[in-house]
Amino acid sequence: MGLDFLNCLAFGRVANVANQPNQGGEQWATRIGVILAVAGSAVGLGNFLRFPGQAAQNGGGAFLLPYFISLLVLGIPLCWAEWTMGRYGGLKGFNSAPGIYSILWPHRAAKYFGVFALLIPLIIYMYYVLIESWCLGYALAYLTGDLMKGSDATAYSAFFGDYVGASKNGILLDSNHRWQLTILAATFVFNFVLIYRGVSKGIEMFCRVAMPVMVVLAMIVLVRVLTLGTPDPAKPEQSVLGGLGFMWNPNFEKLTSPQTWLAASGQIFFSLSVGFGIIINYASYLKREDDVVLSGLTSSSLNEFFEVCLGGLITLPAAFIFLGSAAGEQGTFGLGFVSLPNVFAMMPGGRLFGFLWFFMLFIAAITSSVSMLQPVIAFLEEGFDLKRHVSAALLGLLSAMGCGFVLYFSKGSVALDMFDFWVGSVMIFLLALVQSVVYGWIFGIERGEREAHIGAHIRIPRFVQYMLKYVVPVYLLVIFGGFFWNDVLSHNELQATLDPRFAAHLDQEHPSEELLAALAEKQIDLSPEATLESLARNGEWIAVQVVEGREIRLATFRNTKDGLGVYPHKAGYVEKILQNPVALASVMFIGLITVFLMLLVRIAGRRWESQGRLRYAGS
C-alpha cells in the first residue's frame, strides 16, 4: 500500500487493478491501425527472401499445398487464439505476457512462461536490427552507386562479407567500418523513437504509413521484374516465364517427402509471427468491443499477400532471369544480399530499382523490429511502474548489449546464427506450444470461443476450437520433433555411391585428385587438405580437417554392397556449440538474459501480488 502510494506520488499514475479494464493505459486509435501493426510485425525479410527459397527447394508450386494446409490448420487458428488471449489479458489490466498468462492460468508458475514471450522478441531484436541496418546500408549504397559492380558475382559476395564483417571478429569496430556503425546507430535510435512515442502515436502511426508505402514500392519492383522479357538472347530459357516457372512449376514428387511438409509448416509458423509474444501484447491494447476475429484474419491475409503475391513473384523469378538455376541454391542472406544486388546491377534501371527494393525491405524490417520492443517495454512499465523514458533507456541498454555482442562476433555470423536458431526457432516453437495448451486446456475452448466472439464481425467455425485443443498442439509437437531431428542433431546421410575401387584411395593421408574429382562430379566438396582416417570398424573411413585447433568431421566413407558410400557430415546445433567457443558464448549469453528476465518477472509478480492484481486459484 505504502509502495503504491509512493509510486503514485513519484510517477503520477495509478496501478491497474485486477478485473478492471485497462482503460487508463495505451490503446490503439483505429481498427485498421492495429491490423496494419500486426501485419507489419509479421511482414519482414522472411516473406521476400525465405519463402521463395523454401518453395524452390521443396517442390516449387507443389510446396503451396502443404503451405496452405498449414496456414489453415496451424497459422490462422493460433493467431485467433493469441488475439483472444491478448485482449482478455488487456481487459484484466495487463499488457505484458507474464501478467496475461497469470490471468489466463491463475497459478504462481504461469508468469514464468511469460519470460519466453519477453525473451524471444528481445533476443530477436538484438540481431534483427543489425540485418535491418544492412537493408538501409544497401539502399544507400544504391544511391551512391557503390553497389553497381557489374556482372561479377564475386564482387557482391566480397561486398557483403566486408559489410557484415564475416572475415574476423571485431572487425566492424575498426575505423574502416564507421559507415556501417553509423547506419546501425541510426536504425537503432529510429526504433526507439517510435517505441518512445507509444502504441498509438508511434507504432500505429508509422505502420499506417509504412504498409501502403511497402505495397507501392514492391509493386513498382514487381512490374519491373515482370517486364524484363529475355535480357540475354543467348540464354532464351532465362526469361520472365522461365523465372516464374522456376518458382511455380510443381514437382509433386516432393509432396511424399516429410521435409517438404516440415518446411511448409515452419514457413507459415515463422511468417505469421505466432509464438513470438507480440500478437498477445498488441491485442492487449484493444478495447472490449474491438473485434479480434476479423482483425486477426485480415492481418494474416495481408501477410500472405506480401509473401505469396509479392515475394513469390519478385525474388526468385528476378534472380533466375539473370543467374539461372543457381539462384535457387542460395540461403536467405545469399539470395537477398549477394544474388539480388548482382541481379539489379544487370537490370535496366537497376540502380533505382535496387534502391526501392532495399528501402522496402528496410521498412518491412522496421515494422517488425519495433513490434519486438513493445512487449518488453510493456513489462517494464507495468511490472515496475516505470515511466516511458526510464523503461526505454533500460531496454535500450539491454538490447544494445546484445546487438554489440552479435556485432563483435561477426565472423561467419556465428553469434547471429545461434541467436536465430535457439531463440528465433526453438523457443518460438516452445512458446507456441505453451500458448496452444494454455488456450485449449487451461483457458478452455468454450471460454475462448465466447471471448473471441465479443465484438466479432465474423464467426470462427466451431471446429477451429477443437483443432486448437487437439490438433494444433500435436501438429506443433510433430513439427518440433522433425525440426529437432533435422537441425539439432548431427547426421551422416548417404549422398552418393562411388566405384568400389576408390576405397583404395582412402588409405592415403589426404584425398587423391582422382577421388576429389569423383566427389565433385557428385556435387560433394571435400577439401584437399582433409585428413583421411581408417576406423577400427572394417570398411569405414572418415575425412576430418583441423580448423583453428579444432578437428571437424567432414564426411564418412563406408563400403556398401552397391559400392563406396559417401556420407557428408552435417553438424547439428548441439555439435556446433561444442565445437565453437563463440557459439557456446552465444548460448550462455541467452541463458544470462533468461535468468535476468526471470528475476525481473519474479519481482514484478510479487509486486502484483502485493497490489492485489494477481489472485491464484485456491489462495
Binding site: 486509435a29 511455380w248 484474419l297 485480415t298 500472405e304 513473384l313
Partner: protein
C-alpha cells in the same frame, strides 16, 4: 512455365488476393470505432435535470 505452374500460381495468388480483399472490404466498411464513443448532447447526463428549479 508449364500449364501446371500457371494453374498453381494463378490459384494461389487469386486465393490470397480474394481473402485479403474480402477482409479489407469488411474492415473498411465498418463504422470507425471512435464514432461509438462520441456522445450527442442529449446523451450526456449533466446531472442538473433534477435541480432545474
Amino acid at each position: 512455365m508449364n500449364p501446371q505452374g500457371w494453374t498453381v500460381m494463378l490459384v494461389s495468388v487469386s486465393l490470397v488476393l480474394a481473402l485479403a480483399g474480402y477482409c479489407l472490404y469488411r474492415v473498411l466498411r465498418l463504422p470507425p470505432v471512435e464514432m461509438k464513443d462520441i456522445k450527442g448532447p442529449l446523451e450526456i447526463n449533466t446531472g442538473d435535470i433534477a435541480d432545474k428549479d
